[in-house]
Amino acid sequence: MNDATHSEERQAANDLVSRMQNGDQAAEAEMIERYSRGLRFLLRRKTRDPHLAEDFLQETWAIVLVKIREKGLDNPGRLAGYLCGIANNLTLGEQRRVNRQRTTVNSEIVALIPDGSSNPFRHVSRAEVCTQVHKLLDDLKTERDREILTRFYVREEDKESICSGLGVDSVHFNRVLYRARQRLKSVIKAADRRSQFRVVS
């Protein structure tokens, strides 16, 4: 989360919007490359449908490109916030509409959107994740930590009741979740790296 500080992000967004307004097509490609992964995640969560999410991703870019080319943005430094607003409104609109009129496929935009399958978190199989989570639970040193994870993520109990039930404080609870996430993140990335090796005969 320290890879782009607030001021760096605003500077980069200001720069991108300014270049796009001057007709720089490379800046448009950079914007799409920079924000597509996050927008895809957001849309996938909201729609629960990867295909619909891809449609909305394309539609978001179509709306944003027209807006920036024609009028620019009042607050270009907050480009990321503006993109989220457009994406969220598309999903809200979908919930209200039964027969939604899709925008026509813009092959120019489609070609610019990066392929989501290159993301290791999408690439590593569900079975592999299941194996790794099983191992992670086995490796936990205390039954209490295992219970924290299961009660929070599976039984969806709230943090306060888990902490009082197990006699642990908020800091310990947060750290168990944090460490489990870090561990899984590193094994997913390692599994993804391994899968990229190919035997060359």
């Binding site: 995640f41 209200r96 639970l137 205390t142 994870l149 993520y153 460490r179 899984l184």
Partner: protein, 250 residues
């Protein structure tokens, strides 16, 4: 059809929230988990979405948490399915004559093996007692309430031993860590008892603090954990990270 997008209004509302969303704030307030369960306020959600859109690192965290949740559901479902599948098959097996014969045979073998292992262990313990002490590994937890909670109570025992206390260094990374053990005495200032420097996280990112039982006696103790960054100037002090308490009983 769409909610009206007032570009400035929409952005200003989340401006204050997004400015405070650094790594520490996100972890301490469980923003990742709360986003996934859709329990953030509108203001928090908008600011958080804006934040992760421009942070590959935060997106990694989000996707890892999402897959952890999915994996835990899958593991639990598999375990439950395994239990219900196995249960009806075990009863008839235990009642069969073949099981009785096999069990008797295995019992004879295990008796023979265990008696030979017992003799071997006795011989090894005679050899080892002169130079090795048993080690007890304790994951110290942060607990609610006052010092010396029952959760972190260790028994001294009669024979010398070594306690290895597993300490959580927290979310931030430091170049190395220092842990100091103090004896707590209600009548006096805490007395420094043991200190280990240049500690680095090991298994599961935990710090292992070894303390011989010979320096401890029944009572309450406190461990102060501090961090150091190599880029800091020499006159910069260690940064205090956490305090853990434990109790020693006879």
């Amino acid at each position: 059809m769409y909610r009206f997008i007032d570009e400035n209004g929409l952005l200003n509302r989340s401006l204050r929230a997004s400015n405070k969303m650094d790594k520490k704030y996100i972890n301490e307030n469980l923003l990742i988990e709360r986003y996934l369960e859709d329990t953030l306020s509108i203001e928090e959600r908008e600011a958080f979405e804006e934040r992760f859109l421009s942070s590959a690192e935060l997106l990694d965290e989000l996707e890892a948490a999402e897959r952890l949740e999915q994996g835990l559901h899958d593991v639990t479902a598999l375990e439950n399915a395994h239990v219900t599948e196995k249960t009806p098959k075990v009863g008839p097996l235990f009642r069969s004559p073949q099981y009785a014969v096999a069990a008797s045979f295995l019992l004879l073998i295990s008796l023979g093996v265990s008696s030979s292992l017992l003799q071997e262990n006795a011989r090894l313990s005679e050899m080892d007692s002169a130079w090795a002490v048993p080690t007890e590994i304790i994951p110290l937890v942060s607990v609610r309430g006052v010092a010396g909670s029952e959760l972190n109570t260790l028994s001294l025992g009669d024979a010398p031993k070594r306690f290895v206390m597993m300490l959580d260094p927290g979310f931030e990374s430091y170049s190395h860590y220092r842990a100091t053990v103090y004896r707590l005495d209600p009548a006096n200032e805490p007395a420094m008892l043991w200190q280990v420097e240049q500690m680095l996280p090991g298994y599961e990112d935990m710090l292992a603090l070894g303390v011989p039982s010979s320096v401890l006696s029944p009572g309450d103790f406190e461990i102060q954990l501090e961090g150091w960054q190599d880029e800091w100037p020499a006159d910069h002090g260690f940064e205090s990270l956490d305090t853990k308490t434990f109790r020693i009983k006879k």
